[in-house]
Structure formats: C-alpha cells, structure tokens
Symmetry: C2
Subunit: 307 residues, 2 copies
C-alpha cells in the first residue's frame, strides 16, 4: 500500500484542494466580505523539522508568526489578527515557554498584527500552528503577470540556505536562517504601486517559479542579476555545496517574488532587485554568468531535505 512518504507535500495538498469546491490555490484563502476581502492562512511549524538545533525559543515563536505573515505579505494584505495554537513537551521549562511566547508577541508587534487568540496543548515536541488574518480590497494573486513584466525580488535569496550549513553564529547567513523576516510592508506597497503578481519565497526560487507558471508563459532569470557575492560562492565551495543549488532550490528566504511593468517599477519606493523577465517561451530558464542558458529544474525544499 502506498505510504504518504512516497507522495510529496504538494500532492497531498492537491488532494485536499481537488476535493474542496472552495479552495483557490493562492498564497492564502480569500473570502469576499462587503467591499473588501478577508485573507486567511495557516501554517504549522514542527520543532524537529523547522527549527535548527541552535535556534532560541524566542526565535521559534518569532518564526511561527513570520511564516504566516509572509503569506499575507504575498497578497499585499493589511494584517488583521494572529491566532496561536502551541503544543509543548511536558518537561519543557516554564521559562522556555515564556520565551517562545515573547518571540510571538515581539513578532506580532513588529508586524503590527494583534495576537487575538491562544491555545496550548501537550505533544512530544514543540509544535506551533499559527493563523494569520488580513484585509485586502484587491489581493495580489500569484499568476496575474503579463508578458514582458519584469521579475523581481525584495532582497537577497539563498542566505538562509547557506546559514543552515554553518556552525558559527555571527554572520548574515545564520542570522537569516534563524531570524527570517516577513515583508509585510513591502507587500502592501507592491500592491499599491501596481505589481501584477506576488508570492513569498519559502521553498526556493525555482519551486516558486513553477508554482506561478501558467501555460503559454515562461521566465528567463539572469544569474548575474541575482547578485551572488564572491564570499557566498567561496563559503559554499568550502562546504562542497553547489552555490546555485542553494540559491534556487532550498528557500526559507521569505522575500517576495513579484512581477511588475517596466513603467511601474521606476516609482517603487522599496528595495528590490530585478532578476528576470516574463516571456512566452513556456519554459523556466536561467542565463548563467558564463552566458549559457539552462532549464531551471523543479526542485524545492522537499527535494533538498530528502537527499
């Protein structure tokens, strides 16, 4: 009999979506409410799977908010409220529990999303399930781009992927791995300034590009526009890791990947990097630094974790 380990997470979610008339597969759920939309999303973090060994309790709590607020950001949504459901091992120190909650509260404060509900449970490891709610009149969908739109990102990617492989604490890579930040303000600004689509990068740029791809459309990414530092390539090489694999196929960046017309990008008042363009090639490709063009494989975090 087939075990679920033989099926990827995306396939399992597809089963759920296929059997529910109501689910529109975008970054969040959308419910029409008067002249606006209720945006809602939930994500669960499991200690053994999502929290590196050296992650503090505070950062665990903070990240649980980040991963959910990131989905609101991808819709350009205003935050409305956050609900927390947390399961804890019974031998956890009370102070550690308080640290987790402090992390949650700090993140809610930073993202201006009120913590409106909380629930605790007991389990064999720390499990934090969060639900983020938002309001948005015209949500930014994943695949509403047009041919010739520019493809851009709100910050450097691949940093966390490298950070997961490092023992030393005090560098930008480990910091990104342990303390990712949702781009909630940027998301609202993207919507306001006419971005045509957006999603957040969690499973790696390649995975997200395949998520947003539609028939008849293709993407050309340019390696030299991604801006990978010599230091990054050197550290990856020292660890016997392929730097492009880290950049494209791991994720945990929480930057926004968005598309926008050439006219509108000029007025955009946030940090961003144009990394490519939407075309009608029907394939997803990258022009490497040496000029060669390669197809980008559809491999994301799932692939990385299982190898």
């Amino acid at each position: 009999m087939t075990k679920i380990s033989g099926i990827g997470e995306k396939e399992l979610v597809r089963y759920i979506i296929a059997n529910s008339k109501e689910i529109i597969p975008d970054d969040t759920a959308i419910i029409s409410l008067n002249d606006s939309n209720l945006i809602s999303t939930c994500d669960m973090l499991i200690q053994s799977r999502h929290f590196p060994e050296n992650m503090s309790y505070f950062d665990m709590g903070f990240k649980a908010v980040t991963v959910n607020v990131s989905d609101l950001a991808a819709m350009g949504s205003k935050p409305l409220g956050f609900l927390l459901s947390i399961a804890l091992p019974k031998d956890l120190e009370l102070d550690s529990f308080k640290e987790i909650i402090n992390g949650v509260l700090k993140a809610c404060d930073i993202y201006s999303i009120p913590l409106i509900g909380g629930d605790t449970n007991e389990a064999s490891e720390i499990i934090i399930s969060g639900t983020a709610l938002g309001l948005c009149d015209k949500p930014l969908m994943k695949n509403s781009y047009k041919k010739d739109d520019l493809i851009a990102i709100t910050g450097d990617i691949g940093l966390a992927a490298l950070g997961f492989n490092l023992d030393i604490e005090d560098n930008i890579y480990t910091k990104k791995a342990l303390k990712p930040r949702a781009r909630i303000k940027e998301g609202e600004i993207l919507k306001k300034y006419g971005a045509t689509s957006a999603t957040d990068i969690t499973d790696g740029l390649a995975s997200e590009l395949y998520e947003i791809k539609q028939d008849g459309f293709g993407f050309m990414i340019h390696e030299d526009l991604i801006g990978i530092s010599d230091e990054y390539k050197k550290i990856a090489s020292n660890l016997n890791l392929n730097y492009l694999d880290l950049i494209l196929h791991v994720g945990e960046d929480f930057e926004l990947l968005f598309t926008i017309s050439r006219e509108n990008i000029e007025k955009l008042p946030i940090d961003y990097k144009v990394i490519g363009v939407v075309n009608d090639s029907d394939v997803i490709e990258i022009t490497l630094e040496n000029g060669l063009i390669e197809k980008i494989e559809n491999k994301g975090y799932e692939h990385y974790v299982s190898e």
Copy 2:
C-alpha cells in the same frame, strides 16, 4: 526550574492573554468589522491525546472540524470558513490520509462551513490544527447572564466520558466519544432567541461553570434536572467509576451551556434541558438527588487525565 507539567494548560493560556493587549478571554477571538464581527478560533488535536485507540481516520478528521466549529456555536456565530493544517507520520498509508480528509470535508459540509485552506506537514504522530472563522453581529459572550436566569444545556452530558471507558462500539456512549457533534445551528438560534450567555462544554460542566463565573454570581445546579439514566449509573458502577464525576468533570460533550430568562426560554425552538439557575450566592453548588447540597469542585479534563 519549573517545568510546564507543573502548570495547567489554563495557566499557560493566561500567560499568553496577560501579555497581549488584544485578547478578550471568551470562546473565540472577536474583531469588529464594519457593522459585524469576525469570529475566529483555532484548536489543535494531537493523536496520542485526543483520538481514542479505536477512532477511525474519518472520525479524526471530522472531530478536528467539530472542536473548532463548537467554539463558533458558543458565540452564536454564522460559519464563514475553515482552514486545515495537518501533520502526518511519513509511514501513514495514503488511504488513511484520504480518510482523514474525507472526514474533514464531510464535517465542513454538515456544518455548512467551507474548507478554504489546507496545509500538510510531517510529524511523528497525526496532528490536526484547525481554524474556524465566522461572522456575528452580536456575539454571545460567556458571562453576560443575569441573576435569576435559567441555566440550560442543549443535550445530555457525560455520555462521551463514559464512552471513553467502554470497549464495545455500538452504544450511545461510545458514539458520543468517537463522533461528537458541534451545535452550530442551536448556537445561532440561541442568539436569535435572546440567550444571555453561552459556552460549549468541552472540559466538563464543572470546569465550564467556573470559566463563566463572575464575582457576585453563583450557580445552583440540580442533579435531578440533568437527567442521568439508571443505565448510565449502572454502567459507571460496574466500571467502578463515580457517575457524577463523569458527568461533571470530564467533558468532550460539545453541548452548549447557556443562560436565558424565564420568559425567553418558552419560545426556544430547540431541544434543551434546564439544569439550574443563576443566583448571587457567589458559589457553584449542586443539589444532589437526595436533597443534600454540595459545592461543585473546579476539576476538569486536565485533572481527569492526570490521575
């Protein structure tokens, strides 16, 4: 150092509430939205803790919706949408996963609450976290009762508590233990017909009475009004269990406990049982069948599980 096992779940939740300016401790969170209110609640079910050994995968999925919709019912809220976050062991059969989802979908259909979002994860046991969203213009709060209000319940209690102790499948007790139902229609009707307060009975009647108690108010419950059958007492006695302990201190009933004026109860078009009255004694008591009056102890599911 103090471990969280030394602190009850209610205390942990109190820490969260005390540190968040926004949480009103009622059955759900309430956010004012235009001329209505967004009602939201989340609850997590953990296989080793919430699913009896003999519970089917279908019933696990169904219950995950029930526990959340029950909180909407307690507010008299109209259902709006349900989000599902589920973690599964990697050696789970695919068919078992599908059964869980079928249970979720069936419950969503029965409760008229659309499944609007889904997410899957991997963990060492089945963990289902659900978020239920609702809309309600005037939510039914927990403690807005008045002196002389009648106290009532929407159905028999204690059935699941007895059912957890039985091996045989085919009886009303085991059925209630494995297949509890949320009283979502009853909740909306209670609100419409002027109930003054409501909450759902999950940790046992005693626990809920203490949850809703305010200074200056007391409750007198009458054992003979609860309507405990001879069969119930006999089965409990055969198992060496105190039947009143099961009725008051275990829970998992998902019936609504509500208060209502004597005038308004006459028009109430649902099944209910009056079990007591609100007074100003400042204590919570029960008049036993033999006429003796006892204080009801504040012991709920937590107590039951730890003994």
